[in-house]
């Protein structure tokens, strides 16, 4: 049985895309998502603008909508890149940073401030300084937690997960307890802050958040070959010359930066990252992080901008975007767990 040269896919090369069919599938997936994103972007910017085109008022409205788009872009970038890198580092494609207690930590910081300083505390959390303080607090705590968990005798993903879930639960009930003691009006102000909301995102942080997120994304891009090796698991990565524990801590520290940024901007989202990563794996079907990251970010942007467009401009319910995305993400998550039957 001889194969002619034409039948062999460019003979004997190694690469993340196996053959022409695979390459075509990848390009089609990217093109499709780019097309969808562009149309949703145009829709969000231009649809239903009541003023006369190109007048001052028109530009004003477009400008406000542009800020929402930037927020969507940033949130998609943070969640997609962070989740893919996180899942690679812990060698598990089910768990996400959200599950490890990040959201609860954010809620606790918010609730704690309101509890201690009253409704005035809400205002104390506005501003660039507090934004950075929050981000750094979350980053430090996350990195400390992971380092502690991974350096001792618990160097085991399952125990780390268990501790993450228990920690999330503990922080959550602490917040819950403080919320019970709040006055109804203060509680109302707090609730409004805790729900992730793209229309109402704190856009004044964007000028700081965007460069930081981009810088972290660039670092992950440069680390992509290392991430590819990390995805093979601890022993194989060590055999190939990586110091697994050091790499793990480095990756987790950067992941916590991204998640903190996104959370401080629009509040906790548990399943968006899962959705982005899952779509990237499904469409990409490759080990290469240089191919997975763009797909994940595009998927996140498409999902977020699509739901934002439909909910805000078609159904007039802009506040519900993150709720709906989380609903979809949660259902997909359950579906995968049930189908796979294990973590």
């Amino acid at each position: 049985m001889f194969k002619t040269a034409e039948e062999l896919p460019d003979p004997r090369h190694s690469g993340p895309l196996t053959d022409r069919k695979h390459r075509r599938a990848y390009i089609v997936a990217v093109a499709l998502m780019v097309a969808l994103s562009v149309s949703f972007t145009a829709g969000i910017l231009l649809w239903n603008n009541p003023t006369e085109p190109f007048s001052d008022g028109w530009w004003l409205i477009v400008g406000m909508r542009r800020d929402s788009l930037l927020t969507i872009c940033l949130v998609a970038l943070c969640h997609a890149v962070a989740t893919i890198a996180f899942q690679t580092a812990v060698n598990n494609r089910i768990i996400t940073p959200g599950i490890m207690g990040f959201g609860s930590l954010y809620t606790l910081i918010q609730t704690g401030t309101v509890f201690l300083f009253g409704a005035a505390g809400v205002n104390a959390l506005v501003g660039v300084g507090p934004f950075f303080a929050q981000t750094i607090a979350m980053m430090l705590l996350a990195t400390l937690l992971y380092t502690w968990l991974l350096s001792g005798k618990f160097s085991n993903v399952h125990i780390m997960l268990l501790v993450g879930v228990v920690l999330g639960g503990t922080l959550g009930s602490l917040s819950n307890f403080m919320q019970r003691l709040l006055e109804p009006s203060t509680f109302d102000v707090l609730t409004a802050r805790l729900f992730g909301n793209i229309s109402n995102a704190r856009t004044e942080y964007l000028p700081y958040a965007i460069p930081i997120a981009l810088a972290v994304a660039v670092v992950f891009w440069l680390w992509a070959p290392r991430l590819n090796v990390m995805a093979l698991g601890r022993t194989t990565a060590q055999n190939l010359g990586l110091n697994h524990n050091v790499e793990l801590i480095k990756i987790l520290a950067l992941v916590s930066v991204l998640i903190s940024l996104a959370t401080a901007l629009v509040g906790p989202m548990m399943f968006l990252g899962f959705l982005c990563a899952m779509l990237a794996y499904q469409f990409g079907d490759t080990y290469s992080h240089r191919l997975l990251f763009p797909l994940g970010v595009l998927a996140g942007y498409t999902v977020l901008s699509g739901s934002y467009f439909i909910l805000r401009h078609v159904w007039d319910a802009g506040g519900a975007v993150t709720v709906i995305v989380e609903l979809i993400g949660g259902v997909v998550f359950l579906y995968f767990i049930l189908r796979k039957g294990r973590l």
Binding site: P9, R12, S14, G233, N239, Y287
Partner: protein
């Protein structure tokens, strides 16, 4: 040469491996044998710096495995464990190409591609190179893993029970390919084996362990004796002359 000096690993106060002091010479195949729990895999994974030592020192070709950067060790020594599970879907060729990572840092050159092809051909995987690992049988997958560590082009190759879950035919094929890797490619192979007859037939040296200590170290001819094997394995073993060498009979 691999040198172990007073190497020790304490799992608990009652279970400890070592102290082990021994030398594994360069070239050929050295088989680690012994009963379950004797510490064969522990010693192998410590040489492969996958497990920390509690005390003692291990050097491989002059490199201390604890202090030398992992990157540098990866060009001298490769190690393959029993269970390999990847979350990513990989083809055989993609998996083998990862073996070049210590040299290429992810940027494959034409030279790398040639080493990858050679390793694949060496293990008779040429027709399967674009298949995904989850489409292969256990024996083929095992060969793909071995191809990866061969593509790493290290002088020392450590394998932890590579014959596990292989049937007769595939086990023999695997041992013949490892024999060729030692003879034709000049690799030093250290391998944990359960079957003493496989060890006797295919290896140059046998290192026997029991209760965490090295109890015997010698050529297959020296080891294939009734009293030696009976004592190592705590079982009555009779060694008889077979058509292709001495055979241990223990049932």
């Amino acid at each position: 040469m691999i040198t172990l000096t007073d190497v020790q690993k304490d799992y608990s106060s009652s279970v400890q491996i070592g102290p082990v002091t021994t030398e594994i010479e360069a070239g050929g195949i050295t088989a680690l044998v012994g009963p379950n729990g004797a510490g064969k895999s522990t010693i192998l994974t410590m040489i492969g710096r996958l497990l920390d030592l509690d005390s003692g020192q291990i050097t491989v070709a002059g490199h201390d495995v604890v202090n030398t950067p992992s990157k540098a060790i990866a060009r001298v020594l490769s190690v393959l464990r029993q269970e390999n599970h990847f979350v990513t879907r990989l083809t055989v060729r993609q998996l083998v190409s990862f073996g070049r990572y210590p040299h290429s840092r992810g940027r494959l050159t034409l030279g790398d591609e040639r080493y990858i092809s050679e390793a694949i051909d060496f293990l008779n995987l040429t027709d399967l190179e674009n298949r995904y690992l989850d489409q292969l049988s256990g024996g083929q997958r095992q060969r793909a893993y071995v191809a990866m560590v061969l593509a790493q082009q290290t002088d020392y190759v450590l394998l932890d029970e590579p014959l596990n879950n292989l049937d007769m035919q595939h086990a023999v094929q695997m041992m013949k390919q490892l024999r060729r890797a030692a003879d034709e490619l000049g690799r030093t192979i250290v391998i944990v084996l359960h079957d003493i007859n496989f060890a006797a037939h295919y290896s140059d040296k046998i290192l026997a362990m029991k209760n965490g200590k090295v109890v015997q170290h010698g050529t297959p001819a020296e080891m294939m004796q009734d009293h030696v094997l009976s004592e190592i394995f705590n079982t009555d073993v009779t060694v008889i002359d077979g058509p292709n060498g001495r055979l241990a009979v223990y049932y």
